[in-house]
């Protein structure tokens, strides 16, 4: 059992935990956090995969995928938070530019 096996299994555990939360937690905010937990697990798994090789250099391809995935996860999370905020607004006419919201 190598350290990378442990990290990879923990990544899978985080991924499935996040998936469970995303399906079973009713509130959108918690679902977004669950998806973040799942994506962290996926990144962890990919990094563990990259370190399985015997060579001292890790496999750069999974690393590049994680780097891409982090940025996409951040931007998707921010967009989801904006949409959640809009969902949570009290019903009524949208605020006018002069109105400072809320």
């Amino acid at each position: 059992m190598q350290p990378s096996d442990l990290y990879g299994t923990a990544g899978i555990a985080l991924f499935t935990l996040g998936l469970y939360g995303a399906t079973r937690l009713g509130q959108p905010m918690r679902q977004v956090l669950s998806f973040n937990v799942a994506s962290t697990g996926a990144s962890m798994f990919l990094i563990a995969i990259a370190h399985r090789a015997a060579s001292p250099l890790p496999d750069p391809v999974p690393h590049a995928m994680v780097l891409t995935g982090i940025v996409v996860a951040v931007s998707a999370t921010a967009l989801a938070l904006v949409l959640i905020n809009i969902l949570g607004r009290p019903p009524g006419p949208p605020p006018t530019p002069n109105d400072h919201g809320h």
Partner: protein, 232 residues
């Protein structure tokens, strides 16, 4: 930001769907078991992909294999990623609506503003270093862009006013990465073998140029996303 009630009623307390919780738990556990078993059963690493990447790195114009993969061998991924970032920033700003220009401003803190004046140059220097070092060590556009974006968001926290960048410059920075990346990609198609296939002699400088544009774009997009979250 004021706390607000979160919508959504189909929580675990909803009696109609209570049986779904053990079902979802069992499904997640089963999925974990399958994936963990598949991970254990993976053949020992010995594929040709890592070796062929490491062999091709000298042709990529950079020394760091991760940068070579991100910006040269799998440039498609990165171009789409920058476009996704641009799309979400534009989408979040549009969804935040017209009051995005007038977010609630916290009270200005003189000590924090003074501290920020000390911190900002350091952040900019570190961002420039990260951008440059990506050529031969871990670093690059994403790390540098995250630093610059953090500097811009810190300004909002410390000074209580929006970042002092004017709107037109922010727009320019937001679109710069995608436009530059696409232009260089298409230029490579017109002048050389194909889309995003840089000539090896120029590759290092083209990658640095793309990374510089992407750094500014990532910083601008993170700022726009944060402002949109803040102001809704």
């Amino acid at each position: 930001m004021t706390p607000m009630p979160l919508p959504g009623t189909a929580g675990p307390t909803d009696p109609g769907v209570r049986f779904l919780t053990p079902l979802a738990a069992a499904g997640s556990l089963l999925l974990f078991g399958i994936m963990a078993a598949a991970f254990r059963a993976l053949p020992p690493p010995g594929g040709t992909l890592p070796r062929s990447v490491l062999e091709a790195v000298p042709l990529s114009g950079v020394v760091n294999p991760v940068t070579a993969v991100v910006l040269n061998f799998r440039g498609y991924d990165t171009i789409i990623e920058i476009a996704v970032l641009l799309l979400t920033a534009v989408g979040a700003r549009a969804a935040a609506g017209s009051n995005a220009a007038a977010p609630p401003t916290p009270k200005p803190e003189p000590m924090l503003a003074a501290f920020y004046r000390l911190l900002a140059p350091v952040i900019v220097v570190v961002a420039g270093y990260l951008l440059w070092v990506g050529k031969h060590a871990p670093g690059g556009a994403f790390q540098a862009g995250a630093m610059l974006g953090a500097a811009s968001i810190l300004w909002r926290f410390c000074s209580g006013s929006p970042p002092p960048a004017d709107r037109r410059r922010q727009e320019l920075a937001l679109y710069l990465g995608t436009v530059l990346f696409c232009t260089i990609g298409v230029g490579a198609q017109l002048a050389a073998p194909g889309f995003l296939q840089y000539p090896p002699d120029w590759a290092g400088w083209l990658i640095l140029l793309i990374e510089t544009g992407c750094t500014l774009s990532i910083a601008a997009a993170l700022t726009v996303l944060f402002t949109a979250c803040w102001s809704t």
